[in-house]
């Protein structure tokens, strides 16, 4: 094991009844890294996170935290922090009390936690001062200082999100686990919080594991993305790895703002110079653009002007729908016109038609 690895899952399998949700997955999270668990809903990414947290136990396999097996340690004993999609704030507690809860559970005994009588418990004054100081510092860093006496129900979505982050931050955990933390926010706020999460990650220096179904979020924030498909790790790598060298057709289809064009041999004769055999060809729309001497011809059906670029929807003579992206200054011809499209050869991906696995160019028959 690498000494820098903070958390490792080894051959972790999780079954619910007869259903296998996780099938012998291996995951390693480096100290200080920002790892995204990316996948469609139901792929097992949330279960993976819950197993990391200790909220769920693997049916088989090991969970190692700093090299030690933590199978029988609770989430609290592992000292991991978790932020939930629903924020999971305690509605009856104020913002201050919500953020302070992990500390009061740690520093105050059962008697000391009582609302009024607790003040009489011996030795709690110092603990209370410590908690008050830590909460104040955390709240200050998240801009929550003026909201400490409010109840969660009176806060906006973004403010609730900050309180949930504060509750995670205040205890100085060994790592942060975030379960789709931004998906309940509106688009503008989501982009803003993205930036804040990245700077939070830098500031704490701890490992972040971030579950999301939004590939753009994963690409923007993570330095390691683990793509999960149907309970298995389909690919783990840097965002660039995933984009440039997707390990399978499914990963290629998942990663990228505009869905990749997948052209099977039965979609028509090979459009490209060189023999591509029976491989499925993948071309990202952004690598397919109008060119007078382009190898591929298709008729224009739709055009979406987005300002910086125009997304073209086309159909080949064989009836295959493909998407291409033209620069924003491209003058769109009338629908039905024939357009020649060019592609850089090194931007082509090849996949085995049966298994869907990536084929290197030299292996394409």
């Amino acid at each position: 094991m690498n000494s820098e690895t903070v958390l490792e899952l080894r051959e972790v399998t999780r079954r619910f009844g007869t259903q296998t949700v996780l099938d012998a997955i291996d995951v390693a999270v480096r100290e200080g890294s920002f790892t995204a668990l990316l996948g469609a809903s139901g792929c097992g990414k949330s279960t993976t996170l819950r197993i990391m947290a200790g909220l769920d136990r693997p049916t088989k396999g090991k969970v190692l935290l700093n090299g030690t097996d933590v199978a029988d340690r609770t989430a609290h004993e592992r000292n991991v922090a978790m932020v939930f999609q629903s924020y999971a704030l305690y509605p009856h507690l104020t913002v201050f009390q919500n953020i302070a809860l992990p500390l009061t559970m740690r520093h105050l005994g059962a008697f000391g936690r009582l609302p009024f009588a607790g003040r009489l418990a011996p030795g709690t004054t110092d603990a209370r001062d410590l908690i008050r100081r830590k909460v104040a510092v955390t709240a200050e860093s998240l801009g929550l200082s003026d909201l400490l006496h409010r109840k969660p129900n009176s806060l906006s979505g973004g403010q609730k999100q900050r309180v949930a982050l504060g509750r995670a931050l205040v205890r100085d955990p060994v790592m942060f686990l975030l379960d789709e933390p931004l998906s309940n926010l509106d688009a503008r706020l989501r982009v803003k919080m993205r930036g804040e999460l990245i700077s939070l990650h830098k500031r704490t220096g701890r490992a972040f594991v971030y579950v999301t179904h939004d590939q753009a979020e994963a690409m923007a924030m993570a330095d390691q993305i683990i793509v999960m498909i149907a309970g298995k790790v389909a690919q783990a790598g840097t965002p660039r790895d995933l984009y440039d060298r997707p390990a399978s057709r499914d990963v290629a289809a998942f990663v990228g703002t505009n869905a990749i064009n997948l052209i099977a041999p039965e979609d028509g004769p090979s459009f490209f110079e060189g023999n591509t055999g029976d491989a499925v060809i993948g071309i990202r729309p952004e690598h397919l653009s109008p060119a007078n001497d382009g190898a591929l011809g298709a008729r224009l059906e739709t055009a979406e002007f987005l300002g910086s670029e125009t997304i073209l929807g086309l159909r080949t003579d064989q009836g295959k729908e493909i998407v291409a992206i033209a620069p924003g200054d491209y003058s769109v011809p009338a629908p039905g016109s024939e357009i020649r499209l060019g592609v850089a050869a090194d931007r082509l991906h090849f996949f085995d038609p049966a298994s869907g696995k990536r084929l290197e160019r030299e292996h394409v028959r």
């Binding site: 989430a75 609290h76 991991v80 305690y90 009856h92 992990p102 129900n153 509750r167």
Partner: protein, 300 residues
């Protein structure tokens, strides 16, 4: 057909929708309450052709006489036993069945039905069953007691015991209802909150209950408390069928006294005064629910 302007038509629709219910409410609830309130200041007897104003005499009799005070204190004691026991047991049973449902759903459902049975059954018929069980010599309860080496008791005819016996039956009858309400409340608690509590170190049974379950059940508990209190103040069937308020008024309660004074002795004036006191208590309970507590349990 005449076309009314739109605003008039909408007004007519509103009146048509709200009118009948309002009218019924006025005729069958508000009017009787006003009549009863007026009667409570008179010495009216059912069937009499005239009555005299006697001011607060009826109320003085209720709060001043031994018998009136007896009915009041019996009712308060009964309520003081039934509310905490029935709500507490309801919560414990609901929490148990909620957990049981995770690993033995069938058993949990069967037990749920069993606990709910007393609620669905007619209390008068059930009282007959209780009477047989509590019979001093033939009843199962005493036979079991004797078999275990205890002293047989006159459950329904011992002055010191009878009220507690009735309270026990009252608890038995309402636990199932409270359990169903608490089960619904438990099912509505988001699982995320329990996860958060676990991560925050409040994962033990005790701290999880105080951090998540109890606060989240606040609205349910308030509702259950008010319903249980209302029903407990209304205790009548068991008293009427099992003890008739006896022995020597040891189990006389407010509503039974009201029935006796009004429908056995035809003292409508006095019965009205009892009704007004009863009404005031229920009104107070409802106001407490709406004003003071509701704000606190919904965490605004």
């Amino acid at each position: 057909m005449t076309r009314f302007p739109r605003s008039v038509r909408e007004g007519l629709t509103d009146a048509w929708l709200v009118g009948p219910a309002t009218l019924a409410l006025l005729t069958f609830i508000f009017l009787p309450v006003v009549i009863v309130a007026v009667l409570s200041f008179t010495d009216y007897q059912f069937g009499a052709r005239s009555f005299g104003w006697i001011g607060l005499e009826n109320y003085e009799k209720l709060f001043g006489s031994t018998l009136g005070r007896r009915a009041l204190s019996n009712t308060l004691l009964y309520v003081a036993i039934v509310i905490p026991a029935s709500v507490g047991l309801g919560l414990v049973v609901a929490a148990g069945l909620h957990r049981l449902a995770d690993w033995a759903p069938a058993l949990s459902n069967v037990l749920r039905a069993v606990y709910f049975l007393p609620v669905a059954a007619t209390l008068v018929a059930m009282s007959v069953a209780w009477q047989m069980m509590l019979h001093p010599t033939l009843g199962v309860v005493n036979q079991t007691l004797v078999a275990l080496g205890g002293q047989p008791q006159n459950w329904l005819s011992d002055r010191g015991i009878v009220l507690y016996t009735l309270a026990a039956i009252g608890i038995w009858q309402t636990v199932g209802y409270n359990m169903v309400l608490f089960l619904a409340g438990l099912a509505a608690i988001p699982a995320d909150l329990y996860d958060a509590a676990e991560v925050d170190g409040a994962g033990g049974n005790w701290s999880r209950f105080w951090t998540v379950t109890w606060p989240m059940l606040g609205p349910t508990t308030l509702f259950v408390l008010v319903i249980t209190a209302t029903n407990a103040f209304r205790v009548f069937e068991t008293v009427a069928t099992l003890t008739k308020g006896g022995p020597a008024f040891a189990s006389d309660t407010l509503v039974y006294a009201l029935y006796r004074e009004g429908f056995v002795y035809f003292k409508a004036g006095y019965a009205s005064a009892i009704t007004m006191v009863f009404f005031a208590v229920l009104l107070a309970l409802t106001l407490i629910q709406f004003r003071i507590v509701e704000r606190r349990v919904h965490y605004r």
